[in-house]
Point group: C2
Chain length 183, copies 2
Amino acid sequence: MDIRTLCLGALSLGDATGYDIKKLFDEAFSHFFAAGYGSIYPALEKLAEEGKVAYDRQQQEKRPDRKVFRITATGREAFITELIDTPPREKLRSEFLVLMFFAHLLPPQRLAAVLQERLDESQRELAILEELARRELPAGMKFTIHYGQAITQAAIVCIKENQARLIRDVNATVNECNPSTLR
Amino acid sequence: MDIRTLCLGALSLGDATGYDIKKLFDEAFSHFFAAGYGSIYPALEKLAEEGKVAYDRQQQEKRPDRKVFRITATGREAFITELIDTPPREKLRSEFLVLMFFAHLLPPQRLAAVLQERLDESQRELAILEELARRELPAGMKFTIHYGQAITQAAIVCIKENQARLIRDVNATVNECNPSTLR
DNA sequence: TCCAATATATATCTATTAGATATATATTGT
DNA sequence: ACAATATATATCTAATAGATATATATTGGA
């Protein structure tokens, strides 16, 4: 599953500009599928070439012409097919856990700062999800929010329950890292 | 933070071949930073060019020469700097949640199958983490496993607690999806 | 009233990455 | 005996992330 598929999904919810679609990626999709302009505009271009979307240009003064995209029947069909065929994978890329994995190489203050920063960021993510949860949404969309809340909350609890011991243990065993255990 | 940094990290644990490093990505790193051969070999090449790693070739009969990489002082310094400077971000890419978000477009059996498949996959991930947890590991590495277990367990609980109602509600409100709520 | 911050819009570019693919023998387990 | 897995080296290409460019309108605070 790729950015083009998500753009089709965004347009299945209603006509939108590239700028509107970016906002969806930044808000409703943000906790499970991020994308930037660098991927969105080329994806829309490709989808238009493939006949899966079409667009109207709305001339604007002193601004680039607005392109309002809409999904076509071809695009809708392709989108449904992708929803049927895509395996429900998940993939986490966590720089936070990389830093924890190599915590024995971090100065103590840095370790403490990283944990605090991760807690702060997680609280912000929860606030965003709380805001999303207030909306009247279909069941599936609500579920994605609950899911995001559940795993973010679990992350927060895990950090809070372990950080004191982690900081103590890392400091106590800085030179005991045994690489051969990992192979 | 990128693949090269993680390769430096892997080599900070001990000398290794590209194949060994791939195994680390598939095991100890797998729940927070995946990478394949397509990224690892070019990363090692680049690091060697930059003087951050060096390698010995060990001739083998009937197989490509073994390249055993080791981190250099330059590389270790660069790695520590990266650990100090990298913000502790996290990013989830979840095709599962995309499917849930658009659940109103899925046939009921497909929705049920996706949920079950995600549960099955999460159980497998827990088993892998359980296996990793049995090893004698430094505190930071242990923490990454606990963290992975906490969020995977939370995901499982969330799916189990919500799946029946989700399936019922999605079927009941298939045509009530209101896109304007998302903008 | 002024001005900084934010919103609204379109994009392009390039280094990195994911995943597929290639090659090929040794070892292990059924 | 043979299939499956392990051990090894890679390359290739389409997709992506993130930075960057351009530029005005609107909003909110001082």
